[in-house]
Symmetry: C3
Subunit: 345 residues, 3 copies
C-alpha cells in the first residue's frame, strides 16, 4: 500500500487554516482523537469530544478557534473543522495502482465512443452508441446498456448495471450493486391479469451525484426519472419511475420513494422512510427515520411518524389501547358531557 504524507504547512495552505505549532510536522494519516497516534492528524467538530483533548496522542488537530485553549500541541484552526476534515480526508485516499486504460477482456460495441483517458476494467460490457467521457473509471463486471452516457470524471464501481438510455453527469460516483434504469413497476389490470406498461423513459442523473450500493433507480414510463445535481443517495434506496429529486437533497439508506413523487431541493430524508406516489415534498423538508409520508408536504419543516420504541410488554399494553383509541375518545366526550350536566344541575 502506498502512503500519503503532508506537512502541516501544506495542509494549512490547502485549507486556508491558521497554523499553530510546527509547520514542518509531517502528517501521514487521519484518525479520531481517541485512536490517534503521534503522526496522525485528528479533528474536533463537536464540544462533547473536548474531554479527549487532554489525553489524545494526536500529532496535530483540526479545531475551531473556540477550542484552541484546550490543546497544547500542533493545531490547524478553522471555522468549520468538520468541513476541513472532509476536505483533508480526500488527500489521504490511496490512489489505486490497478491497471489503467482498457482491460483486455472488456467488450465494447463498435458504435460506442470511449474517451482516451477513460479506464475500463475487466469483464465490463458496453453497449451500442454509449459515450464514456474523459477520465471516467468503470470497475470490473459492470454492464452499461445501449445509448448510455457517462460524464467526465464519473466512477462506476464493480458490478453496477446501467440499462439502456441512462445518462450520468460529471463527477458522479455509482456504487456496486446499484441498478439504474430497470423497468418502473407499471401495469394495467385486465380482469385480474397484469398487463405490462412498457417503460419508455430513461434515467437522468445530474453532476456530482452519488448513488449507494444496491440502490435502484427505475426508468420513467414516458418521461425520465430525474436526479438533480449534487444529490446524495445512500445504500439500498428505491427510487421508482418518474420520481424527480431536487438539487443537493440527501437520502439515507433503505428509503423508498414511489412513482412520480417530486422531492424538492435541499431536503434531508433519513433512513428506512417510505414516501408514497404522486406527492410533492417541499424544498428544505426534513423527514426523520422510518417515517411514512402519504401526503404532500407543503411547508418545509421536520416531519415524523411512528410510535417510538418501548419494552415489549409495555408496548403491547399501549398497542391494545391504540386499537381502542376512537372508543376512548368518545368515552372522554361522554364523561365531559356528564360533568357539564352535573355541574349545571
Amino acid at each position: 500500500m502506498s502512503s500519503n504524507e503532508y506537512t502541516l504547512q501544506q495542509l494549512a495552505d490547502f485549507l486556508s487554516a491558521e497554523l499553530h505549532g510546527d509547520g514542518d510536522f509531517k502528517v501521514s494519516a487521519l484518525s479520531t482523537l481517541e485512536k490517534a497516534g503521534s503522526s496522525d492528524l485528528s479533528f474536533i467538530a463537536n464540544s462533547k469530544y473536548q474531554k479527549y483533548l487532554s489525553d489524545t496522542q494526536a500529532g496535530a488537530i483540526l479545531m475551531a478557534p473556540s477550542d484552541v485553549g484546550l490543546f497544547k500541541g500542533n493545531a490547524l484552526v478553522i471555522d468549520n473543522p468538520y468541513l476541513a476534515y472532509a476536505r483533508v480526508s480526500q488527500l489521504f485516499v490511496l490512489s489505486s495502482e490497478s491497471a489503467k486504460g482498457i482491460a483486455a477482456s472488456v467488450i465494447i460495441a463498435e458504435s460506442a465512443k470511449i474517451a482516451e483517458t477513460a479506464s475500463i476494467a475487466q469483464g465490463v460490457v458496453i453497449g451500442e452508441r454509449v459515450v464514456v467521457d474523459e477520465g471516467v473509471i468503470i470497475g470490473p463486471n459492470t454492464v452499461v446498456g445501449d445509448d448510455c452516457f457517462i460524464g467526465a470524471e464519473s466512477v462506476l464501481k464493480p458490478n453496477v448495471t446501467l440499462y439502456p438510455d441512462v445518462h450520468v453527469g460529471r463527477y458522479c460516483l455509482i456504487h456496486s450493486g446499484a441498478v439504474l434504469g430497470a423497468d418502473g413497476f407499471g401495469f394495467a389490470n385486465d380482469e385480474g391479469d397484469w398487463v405490462k406498461i412498457a417503460q419508455l423513459g430513461g434515467v437522468r442523473l445530474g453532476n456530482n451525484v452519488e448513488v449507494g450500493a444496491g440502490t435502484t433507480i427505475d426508468r420513467g414510463a414516458l418521461e425520465h426519472t430525474v436526479i438533480s445535481d449534487g444529490v446524495i443517495l445512500d445504500n439500498q434506496i428505491q427510487i421508482a419511475h418518474n420520481v424527480t429529486i431536487g438539487e443537493k437533497t440527501a437520502i439515507a439508506g433503505c428509503t423508498a420513494v414511489a412513482g412520480s413523487t417530486k422531492i424538492g431541493a435541499g431536503c434531508t430524508i433519513a433512513g428506512a422512510c417510505g414516501i408514497t406516489g404522486h406527492l410533492n415534498i417541499a424544498a428544505g423538508s426534513h423527514i426523520t427515520a422510518m417515517s411514512l409520508v402519504t401526503k404532500s408536504i407543503i411547508e418545509p419543516g421536520v416531519y415524523s411518524s411512528g410510535t417510538g420504541m418501548l419494552p415489549h410488554k409495555q408496548w403491547k399494553k399501549n398497542v391494545v389501547r391504540f386499537r381502542q383509541l376512537d372508543e376512548l375518545a368518545r368515552r372522554i366526550k361522554s364523561v365531559e358531557d356528564k360533568i357539564t350536566e352535573i355541574k349545571g344541575s
Copy 2:
C-alpha cells in the same frame, strides 16, 4: 436509435378501438397530455386530467366514450383507456440491435441444453444440466447455477444470479441484481452458536412472473419457495424460504415476507411492508404502505398499520401520550366510575 411508427387505423385495429378522425395519421411516440407533441399519441384514464384536454398538443388521444366531447382532435375511443395505453406501449419498445445468439465469452457447462433461438450475452456463466428454452434472452454477466430451468421467451437482465435448482417459467422477466435461490435464513441455536440448516429446497417461478431489480427470493429449507403464475414483484423485495405467493398477486418495492408465509392469489401489497413468518394472507387482501402484518388475515379486506405523519413537534407530544395510553385508558375508566357514583349518590 430506431423508431416505430403506426397509423391510427393500425392502432384502432390492434386495440379494437373506435376511430375518431384521420385513420392515416401517423403516431411515432407515446406521451403525457402535458408534454405531447403533434405526432404523439396520449391517453386520458382519470377525470382529473380532463383540464389538460383543451390545451394538449397531442396528435391523437386514447379515451373513454365519456371524454369524447372534450377533445376535438383524433381519438381512439375504448372502454378502458389505461389498459389500451398499456397494450400500445409495448409497440413502442425499441427492439435492441445488440448481438443475438451466444456471445463468444459465454461459459456453458457441457451438460447444459441451450435452445437454438436463445440469446446469451457476454460474461454469462451457465452451470451443469441447465435448460435454456426457446427465445430466452440472458443479459451480460448473469450467472445461472446448476440444474436451473429457464422457460421459453423469458428474459434475464444483466447481473442476475440464479443459484442451483431454480426453475423459471415462460414469459418471465427477471431484473438486474435479483438473486434467486440464495440460502434461506435457517439456523438452530446450540447454546449461543448458530448451526446452519442446509437449505435443500429450490425456487419455482410460474409463467408471466416479473421480478424487480435487487429482489431476493430464497430457496426452501426442505420444500420449494413458490411464486405462482402472473405474480409481479417490484424492486428490492425480500421473499424468505418456503414462502408461497398465489397467482397474480402484486407486491410493491421493499416489502419483506418472512419464512413459510402463504400469500393468497390476487392480493395487492404496497411498498415497504413487513409480513412475519408462518402466516396465511387471504386471497384478495390489500395491505397499505409500510404496514406490519404479524397475524394471519382470514377475511380479505384492506389492512393498515402505523400512525401517519405529523410535524415533528406535534408528533413528539402524541408519542409521549402513546406511551401513557394504558394509564390514560385506566384513568378514563376511573373517571367514569366516579361519575356513576356521583350521579347515584
Copy 3:
C-alpha cells in the same frame, strides 16, 4: 444430480442419538412430516406437529424422548431434535460437480496470493495483494478489490463485490449481490453543497459469519466496520460505516443499522427494523419486527415499536385520535380536576 444415503445407525452415531428401530434402514432425503416418503427422515421439534405423527409416511423421525410413545416406526431420539435436524441437513447437501481449481477466464493481479486448494470460478477479478486462503471457493463474476483477505474455507457466491481492504475470516459464507466495503455515507455540508468525507477505514469480518444476498456493509470512515465471529446476517440488510456487531448476533432481512452504532453480542434483531446511529444496544437484546430504535438499549430485554395492524377503516379512526392524543390526555386531566372539585364541594 448425485444423491446421498446414510443408514440410521450411521446417523445415530453422527448425532450421538438413541436408535429406535432398524439400524440398517437407509435414509436418502430429509422431509417434513406431512410430505415425507417412506425412505425419508423427518423430525418433530414442536408439539403442535404431534398431530402429524400418526399419519406420516416418514421412514424415520428425529424426536425428543417425550414424543417416543407417539410414533411406532424408526426413530432417532435426542434432546434437541431441531439442532439434530440442522446437523443432519448438512449431510444432504449435494456436492457441486462444477469445475474446481482456477477457471481460465479468471483475472488475478500478480501480487495476489492464491492458495493451491482454492477454487475460483469464471469471470472473477482479484486485485493487488489479495490473499485467498486454503479451501476458499469464489463463484462466477465476483470481484475482490485490492488488499482483501479471504480466510480459509470461506465461500463467496457469484456476483459478490468486495471493495479494497475487506477482510473475511474463516468459514464465512457471503451470498450473491452482497457488497462489502462500499463508502460509508459521510458528507460535510458546505452551505448546501455536500463535501464527501473519504472513507479510509475497511471492513473486518470474523470467523463463521454469514452475509445474506444483497446485504451491504459499508467501510469505516477512519476505523473499520466490524462484524464479529459467528454473526449471521440475512438478506438486504444495510450496515453503515463504523458499526460494530458483537459475536453470534443474528439479524433478519431488510434491517438497517446507521453509522457508529454498537450492537452487543447475542442479540436477535428481527426483520425490517431501523436502528439509528451512535447507539449502544446491550448484549442479549431482542428487537421485534419493524421496530424503530432511536435510543440506546441499556437493559437487555424485548423491545418493540409500531401500532399493530388493523382493518383500514378502523385503523383510520384510531390514527385520527392518535393525532389528538395530547389534547385527549389534557381533557382527561381536566375531567379529573372537575370531579375532584365536585366531590369536594
